[in-house]
């Protein structure tokens, strides 16, 4: 009797393991039938009445709000397209996999999307490391991939199937440097960067270079690690150098706390930041301390443009709350993809890729999108000021 329990569990575990492989192998075999030339195989989904897209996002983990917003945006775009009759007479569907914010999970999910689900096109990832992991898998398989919001330059360098609909880190650093020099007219800026994030380091590198090029001076460059709760040592060091503004290109979760502690220490200068600030949570975490600070962003929720107003209304109705820029970029990415599918001569990888590459003056909610020869979007950025519980549009900076 004592032995039956472990035995049963062992058998169950084996069963689970065994089943897994069996259900998988036939699907794999199917792909082999079509041969290595994936474009030929990819015609197969066309015979069905739905076109399947894939998305990988961090629905759980540290940056879950980004992943969820992106998914919401994509879902909204698909719903609209389906309501308008779909693409080429077929309905669209998206299959979403969670990667827990880890690159190996992202690679696994994207491999699954490509080989098991045979998606036509992949949308995904906010974090650049995860997008790179996905791109390395999508490129050799010949499946086009559009990242809504990975700003690191390296992502689209992985190959000609990889696109993005947002601007890149260097541009964002440049935007803030230009804004600080021309609009705020400050000369001395201190930097507080997040050592744990490539995004933050990239932004502060470019900011330093551009701002110094515009005649400004970086008084000091301090670092913290994402998830720290005490920034007083760095802020005290920054305060000593008497800057006129502090550039904090981190994520909203840390920035709120940094702002509070800066004000406690009597550091009253405005904080400057990037699109990592963009979350409803920022107002909650930063309270009154964050008010009056500026950050560069992809889009402004109070833009008067009708297409932006319409998008915000629909998003609010479906998910409650104003969409952040990840939601807007997810929406844009999905719409660029849908438009490309519509234009593509056939539903093969190369045809879809060529169609995406032709995207020009596409009216996205986060700015007009034109893809350049490096498959990056050329588009303006906006600078927003934080007010009580909302942001205010300040200016647009063009590339």
């Amino acid at each position: 009797m004592r032995r039956t329990a472990p035995l049963l569990l062992a058998v169950l575990a084996l069963l689970a393991a065994g089943c897994e492989k069996k259900t998988r192998q036939p699907a794999v075999g199917e792909e082999q039938k079509g041969g290595a030339e994936q474009p030929v195989v990819r015609e197969a989904p066309g015979e069905e009445d739905t076109l399947l897209l894939g998305e990988v996002g961090s629905l759980t983990g540290a940056q879950a709000t980004f992943g969820v917003s992106t998914r919401n945006g994509i879902e909204l775009a698909l719903e609209e397209a389906n309501a308008a009759g779909g693409v080429k007479g077929k309905k669209l569907a998206v299959r979403v996999y969670d990667d827990q914010g880890k690159p190996e999970e992202a690679a696994q999910a994207v491999t699954r999307l490509i080989t098991q689900d045979k998606v036509l096109l992949i949308l995904g990832e906010v974090a650049s490391s995860n997008s790179i992991a996905m791109a390395e898998k999508a490129q050799p398989a010949g499946v086009p991939m559009i990242t809504p919001s990975s700003t690191n330059v390296e992502v689209t360098q992985k190959g000609d199937y990889i696109f993005r609909v947002c601007f890149t880190d260097p541009f964002q650093g440049y935007v803030m440097a230009k804004f600080a020099a021309d609009h705020l007219k400050v000369k001395k800026v201190a930097i507080l960067q997040d050592n744990k994030s490539a995004y933050s380091m990239g932004l502060s590198d470019v900011f330093t270079e551009k701002f110094q090029g515009m005649g400004g001076r970086i008084t000091t460059r301090e670092s913290y690690s994402q998830g720290d709760t005490d920034f007083r040592a760095q802020l005290t060091a920054i305060k000593k150098t008497r800057p006129e503004a502090v550039y904090v290109p981190g994520y909203y979760s840390d920035v709120g706390v940094i702002a509070r502690q800066a004000r406690e220490l009597g550091l009253m200068v405005p904080l400057l930041g990037g699109d990592g600030w963009d979350s409803e949570k920022l107002f909650e975490l930063g309270g009154s301390a964050i008010q009056g600070s500026y950050f560069s962003n992809h889009y402004s929720p109070d833009s008067p443009e009708p297409r932006v107003r319409q998008f915000i209304d629909r998003y609010k109705k479906a998910y409650g709350g104003v969409p952040d820029s990840m939601g807007a970029l997810g929406y844009d990415a999905a719409r660029v993809a849908i438009a490309a599918l519509e234009r593509a001569e056939s539903l093969t990888g190369p045809a879809i890729r060529d169609a995406i590459a032709q995207t020009k003056d596409f009216p996205g909610v986060a700015g007009t999108i034109t893809l350049d020869e490096n498959r990056n979007a050329v588009k303006p950025a906006v600078v927003l000021q934080v007010e009580e519980g909302k942001t205010r549009f300040v200016t647009t900076v063009n590339p």
């Binding site: 575990a13 689970a16 792909e31 082999q32 739905t50 696994q108």
Partner: protein, 355 residues
């Protein structure tokens, strides 16, 4: 000596003693190459099997320390990171180099093996440095030191340009294969089983049961503990090195404390001290999330919100399953026994053999 005979599978009549050691290898290699050939066109199965293999190596190697020796190490992901980054950087440096006179594929594989061994040795050296001072002590000190070590490695990587900082190291040649991962799984299992059956292993068991008594019986406790720890870190390093050669980008986020805990969970779930338990638990826990993905996609209609929400609740479900398993079997699946011990048929045979 008697016990050693029981666990050594090489009791084949007519084969000279020195060749018996090679016997498992002769069985393993054709199987691995067959598997490799069968999976050559299945990237997803290959990827999943590789992840599974790496997890098995990690769990089995951690079992040598946590299970057999009874020391509590919770920094295995740190050693994995050492192996991954050292071998990744080495492979990246040797990317454009090939040994003259050899086909490129072969020289790539040779470099890959070299990178694996370097990664393993680097991790073993770290294991020695970490283990030597902390294993002299008793109790929970090793846990704290290994926890700290894991965090230090991560912070070092994040701040070092060569290791790609926070973005991670990408562009490492993807030379890993199912056969190579499988081969190392085979090696780690073989080593673990041989250690368990040897006099060395007996000393480890003695330390696990009662350190004072073991010392009184003349067991050099520190020496044995450090050696077990170094072997364990070596294989963690190899696992990390393999990982770096099939995951397109390695990033500090992959080697967090959570990863260490995942491996501890595998060992505890399988039963502390049971090699086959660790293997089964690693296989089961790697396939479980993917299996749930399959099940949920199959159950829900395409495009329905269930399919979309479900991926988010995979991890909580995983947690609940673990809690249930631990409540129903606190000693793990097999306790300290092995798979063949709990299978009744084998049980009967063993009794007959011993009496």
């Amino acid at each position: 000596m008697d016990d050693a005979v029981v666990v050594t599978p090489g009791k084949v009549p007519g084969i000279p003693a020195p060749l018996r050691g090679l016997f498992p290898l002769l069985v393993a290699l054709p199987v691995l190459f067959g598997l490799q050939w069968a999976l050559s066109d299945a990237p997803f199965a290959t990827y999943l099997l590789s992840v599974m293999g790496v997890n098995v190596i990690l769990a089995v190697s951690l079992n040598i320390v946590n299970g057999m020796t009874g020391q509590f190490s919770i920094g295995h992901a740190g050693f994995m990171a050492v192996g991954a980054y050292v071998s990744g950087v080495l492979s990246l440096a040797l990317k454009e180099v090939a040994i003259s006179g050899l086909p490129v594929v072969l020289s790539d594989q040779l470099f890959f093996v070299a990178a694996l061994l370097t990664g393993g040795v680097a991790a073993a050296v770290c294991g020695f440095l970490v283990g030597l001072p902390s294993l002299r002590l008793r109790g929970d000190y090793l846990a704290i030191v290994t926890l700290g070590f894991g965090e230090i490695i991560r912070v070092v990587v994040q701040n070092t340009e060569v290791f790609g900082r926070a973005l991670g190291l990408s562009g490492t040649p993807q030379t890993s294969s199912v056969a190579m991962v499988g081969f190392w799984v085979f090696v780690v299992v073989l080593v673990s089983r041989r250690i368990a059956g040897s006099s060395h292993g007996r000393s480890l068991w003695a330390i696990r049961e009662d350190e004072v008594a073991a010392e009184a019986m003349g067991v050099d406790t520190t020496g044995y503990k450090v050696r077990a720890f170094v072997v364990s870190s070596f294989f963690a390093g190899v696992a990390g090195a393999l990982f770096a050669h099939f995951v397109p980008i390695i990033n500090p986020n992959s080697f967090t404390f959570v990863k260490s805990m995942e491996i501890v969970v595998m060992v505890v779930l399988g039963g502390l001290g049971s090699t086959s338990g660790a293997i089964l638990a690693a296989v089961f826990l790697t396939l479980l999330p993917e299996g749930m993905r399959s099940a949920f996609t199959a159950m829900s209609e395409e495009g329905s919100s269930l399919a979309q929400q479900v991926d988010q609740i995979r991890m909580p479900v995983y947690g609940v399953l673990l809690v249930v398993l631990m409540l129903s079997r606190p000693q793990g699946l097999f306790g300290t026994r092995e798979l063949w011990d709990v299978l009744p048929r084998w049980m009967a045979r063993r009794r007959k053999g011993q009496s």
